[in-house]
Symmetry: C2
Subunit: 182 residues, 2 copies
């Protein structure tokens, strides 16, 4: 894709993200996305066939760490970057996609979420194993800690839409992950 095309797609994903966070999945239409992105109908459909395609692309975007492991970066450094990204996401409660996830899942997209969940698990597992190998992390139970990380993250994403989130709470989760691993 051209650089311009790439830029348009990113713009669409960003604007759609805000709409999904605000209204869930079902109530967002392609028309809404046209309006927020200031694209014509044709301009939007050139890139995406529907809101489901857009949401699934948003949810599939991943913080990629495989390259960093391959290049032999310090596990500790990769961890700190991941935690930084997690923390930023958790604090930005306006951008929680929990409701959209719920609604999209209820429309029969279970397999998609099984895949998303597996990818997230794989990412954390590979980092934790790598950190144990390099001797930077404690010899922990990989699968167990991965579940604690992913589910406490999801719990915060959900509840931050129900009650105002205290900054302490996010620090508690991030510090716990750090203490468990380092």
């Amino acid at each position: 894709m051209s650089a311009k095309g790439e830029q348009t797609r990113n713009h669409i994903l960003e604007e759609a993200y805000k709409l999904f966070a605000q209204k869930g999945f079902k109530q967002v239409t392609m028309k809404d996305i046209c309006e927020s992105t200031k694209l014509s109908r044709g301009g939007l459909y050139r890139h995406y066939a529907g809101t489901d395609e857009i949401l699934s692309e948003i949810l599939s975007r991943d913080y990629v760490i495989a390259d960093q492991i391959e290049q032999g970066f310090s596990a500790r450094k990769i961890l700190e970057e991941l935690l930084g990204a997690l923390k930023e996401e958790m604090l930005d409660s306006e951008k929680s996609l929990s409701l959209a996830i719920y609604e999209y899942a209820s429309l029969g997209n279970e397999d998609f979420f099984i895949h998303v969940n597996e990818q997230a698990k794989k990412r954390w597992n590979s980092l934790i194993r790598y950190g144990i190998e390099t001797g930077e992390f404690k010899k922990v139970d990989c699968e167990q800690i991965t579940d604690v990380i992913l589910y406490s993250y999801q719990g915060i994403r959900m509840w931050s839409r129900v009650i105002p989130l205290e900054k302490d709470t996010v620090d508690h989760i991030v510090n716990m992950i750090r203490e468990l691993l380092l």
Copy 2:
């Protein structure tokens, strides 16, 4: 209240719980609850003025541990009972109220949820402090562990409605709590 009244209320709460878990908050009507409970309109309204009153009573019901602490039960024993209850709830994904919580919160009931959340925090904090006092628990950071427990629990409640939950996952969370404390 008479024993009979108490029994009827419990029956209403049980049936309404199933409906809220299945359909969220907004789509459940008093008429639905009449049908599930086989109560007349008058019979139901004698106990509750509306679905909001019923949901808020369900969400306020709490596993009470203050008495057990007062009576000097072993902290370890109380913990195991609490973990048993948590585990049972997490495995019963059909009974997750996450969607109902979302919807009820979005109708402007933030204060109610702040209260529910505070009660849950208080409960875990008091148990952890008690366990540290009796020397049964490690000298952990109370608030931090409480947040990890509550949010990983909520994360599971939410995602168990999105993808099928593996039994391992629940064990991972419960074992982690146990390892952090004991």
